[in-house]
């Protein structure tokens, strides 16, 4: 075979994957970018070029800013907590304890359940007066509270659901990584007289860094991607206090039918996520030790 046919061969092997990727990932991104510079077609009125008008509209849109702020709080609330919990649970079920596999299964269950079902169950937990949470606080003699219906607690309630849902999933990755750590390191540490905390800080945690990076990237993406529970539990209310960015994109696109503005919002969301991912890799790459 000459060089040319080798090339052809290579490209042909690549083709199926490349076609799918272009069709469902790259083309939609480019099309979205393109449409974000046009007005929304209405009935018989075709779209016209409006340049950056859709982006300018965003600056004056209070709901967009609120959704963005909510989303940042949602990320701050879910990411560190779910990762810390995942690590804790992984270390716990990695030890030699009774009923270990049952415990692992229990921790992983929330991940298996569909988010819509989960949200409906939690909706009942939060129901004022006779919901599970209210029954517990009522038993303790605390005053009743409308958890999802008040501005101060609605977003926190959604964060709790997301943490509960995600921690088990991340735990699986940590568990797998923990089992990759050679046991002789443990023995060496014991001989040198390293305490458990010291051993974790100096050996376990650094060795888990590649997993932490992977989990972190996923957690960040999920913080901006998960909105099923918003749809079921609050629909963005009360008064937009639980509206997340992607939910707002959905509202603009499929409730208001303003597809051009929705495209512009999508681009901002995409750009934000891309920047975050790049920053994470750049920052952690230097601190990550791959075995």
């Amino acid at each position: 075979m000459n060089r040319f046919s080798v090339h052809i061969h290579g490209w042909l092997l690549l083709l199926p994957a490349a076609v799918l990727l272009v069709l469902f990932t790259h083309y939609p991104v480019v099309a979205t970018l393109y449409h974000s510079f046009f007005s929304t077609p209405r009935g018989s009125v075709p779209p016209v070029w409006v340049g950056l008008e859709n982006y300018r509209q965003m600056i004056d849109d209070p709901v967009f800013w609120q959704a963005l702020t909510n989303n940042l709080w949602f990320a701050v609330g879910t990411i560190p907590l779910s990762i810390a919990l995942a690590l804790l649970m992984a270390i716990w079920v990695n030890g030699k304890i009774q009923g270990r596999s049952f415990l692992r299964l229990a921790y992983f269950t929330p991940t298996v359940l569909p988010m819509i079902a989960v949200a409906n169950i939690w909706l009942f937990f939060y129901t004022p007066q006779y919901g599970l949470l209210e029954q517990i606080t009522g038993f303790l003699g605390w005053p009743s509270h409308n958890w999802l219906g008040s501005r101060d607690t609605a977003l926190a309630c959604l964060i709790a659901v997301a943490v509960w849902k995600e921690a088990g999933f991340f735990m699986i990755f940590y568990l797998a990584a923990l089992q990759q750590i050679p046991p002789n390191l443990n023995e060496a540490g014991a001989i040198e007289g390293a305490g458990r905390w010291y051993f974790f800080r100096r050996i376990t945690f650094p060795l888990l860094m590649p997993t932490t990076l992977f989990v972190l990237v996923n957690a960040v993406i999920n913080a901006f991607r998960l909105i099923d529970h918003v749809v079921v539990m609050t629909r963005g209310g009360p008064d937009n206090t639980t509206s997340l960015l992607l939910y707002y994109v959905y509202e603009v696109g499929f409730k208001y039918w303003d597809s051009a503005y929705a495209a512009a919002l999508t681009m901002v969301l995409l750009l934000g996520l891309a920047l975050l991912a790049i920053a994470q890799f750049a920052f952690f790459e230097r601190r990550t030790h791959y075995q």
């Binding site: 009935g43 006779y130 999802l148 219906g149 629909r235 009360p238 409730k255 039918w257």
Partner: protein
């Protein structure tokens, strides 16, 4: 090889099949399900009966999810070129569908005098959301109004006449005060509950209408959210919750409101007539159904779904769908549909059918919604409908959670609505 006779027979059979094919008109029909009960079974039954009577028409009934999902599916299909021929969608989606050039009015198809009479056979209150600019764009099908449900047992316990619901706002507040039970630091039973998630604007119209004010003009280009009577109505709602503390605080979930009523956590609830079958089946106590309490007058908005005809379909298909819609809204079927689902039968003559008369005799509360229709007004619907109602919903939730005063909330909502509707005011 086939012999010549066989060949001829085959040819004839093929031609005959071709003719039959040409005579059958296929129409697709999207319908949402928004209340409990085996709704799909009822619809399939109707469709089967219709096809038996009209062999030339094949109706493909497609269950399309909630109202919101149905609209998304129908409009997306319209934009890609193949919408359903007919669909049941919210009556308030009328302006959205017109603005997208997705539907045709029924007037062009209703050519005969009989058809014209049919167009005028529905309750005028339902037609308020089905007509604009002198044309009929929707045909009422699964329509509702808001009513008050009350728990007769709890009324008795509180020393109230169990057969006398509150007739006006003053009485509702007084009754609610007597019906609210508190222990050391908790309220164990609330007097009254008006849900405020999902579509609070609709339930709010159950307060503004009795207060003698409408929220928009008939052309759907103007709103009146900052009218003093509107602010007064919101103040009444907020005061029940925040000042008198006889209504649960904050935003109250629409979905769990019937359950709160079953659990006796609340003595009176305000919700759709569409919940009647559900409450009848699940309330383990004697309950009553009443018209909404009056302030300056009686009143409630209508709600629910209409039939629409989509533009991107052939004239034959539109004719066939027209026939189907006429058939399914006949008095007998409107009555049967109302009994099966709890929706309000959409035309006066449906209430004079023997089945309906018998049903009401056995279950008088079913007639309350009908009696209220004479006071009913159109549900809030404008151009850019979802955006405008969202502005009002946000304002209502802000006031109910105490983030804004009723005055401020309604002024902000009005300013936002006016901004959205500016392009339509010519």
């Amino acid at each position: 090889m086939l012999n010549p006779i066989k060949k001829a027979l085959v040819a004839i059979a093929l031609i005959a099949a071709g003719i039959a094919q040409a005579q059958t008109t296929e129409i697709s029909f999207y319908y949402p399900v928004a209340v409990g009960g085996p709704i799909t079974k009822f619809i399939d039954g109707f469709v089967a009966d219709f096809q038996k009577e009209n062999p030339g028409i094949k109706v493909n009934s497609i269950y399309s999810g909630t109202y919101q999902e149905s609209l998304v599916k129908a409009l997306t299909a319209h934009k890609s070129g193949t919408p359903p021929v007919t669909s049941v969608l919210l009556s308030t989606d009328m302006y959205t569908l017109i603005d997208d050039d997705a539907i045709v009015p029924f007037d062009g198809l209703a050519s005969s005098a009989e058809d014209q009479a049919w167009l005028n056979s529905f309750y005028p209150a339902f037609m308020a959301n089905s007509r604009t600019g002198g044309k009929t764009w929707g045909i009422p099908f699964q329509r509702s109004t808001i009513v008050l449900y009350w728990n007769k047992e709890l009324f008795k316990e509180a020393g109230l006449d169990p057969n006398r619901p509150p007739a006006n706002w003053k009485e509702m507040a007084e009754y609610a005060q007597k019906l609210t039970k508190r222990d050391a630091n908790n309220t164990t039973q609330w007097g009254v509950q008006i849900p405020s998630t999902g579509f609070p604007y609709w339930l709010f119209q159950g307060l503004t209408t009795p207060n003698g004010v409408e929220l928009m003009n008939a052309a759907g280009t103007e709103t009146y959210f900052d009218n003093p009577a509107v602010i007064e109505a919101l103040k009444y709602w907020v005061d029940l919750s925040r000042a008198q503390k006889v209504h649960p605080p904050g935003v109250v979930e629409w979905g769990t409101t019937p359950k709160d009523f079953f659990e006796k956590k609340v003595a009176m609830i305000v919700t759709t007539t569409g919940n009647l079958s559900n409450i009848k089946a699940n309330a383990k106590f004697d309950f009553g159904v009443a018209m909404l309490p009056a302030s300056k007058r009686r009143g409630s908005p209508t709600g629910g779904g209409n039939f629409y005809l989509f533009k991107k379909s052939t004239p034959q298909q539109q004719q066939a769908a027209f026939k189907f819609i006429k058939w399914i809204t006949s008095p007998e079927r409107a009555a049967q549909w109302g009994i099966d689902t709890g929706y309000v039968a959409v035309r006066p003559d449906a209430w004079n059918t023997p089945v309906m008369k018998k049903y009401i005799e056995g279950f008088p509360p079913a007639a309350v919604a009908r009696d209220q229709l004479q006071y009913a007004v159109a549900e809030l619907s404008t151009h850019e409908n979802q955006r405008v109602t969202k502005a009002l919903n946000d304002g209502l939730q802000a006031a109910l959670t105490g983030a804004k005063t009723p005055e401020q909330a309604m002024k902000d909502a009005q300013a936002e609505a006016a901004r959205i509707l500016r392009p339509y005011k010519r």
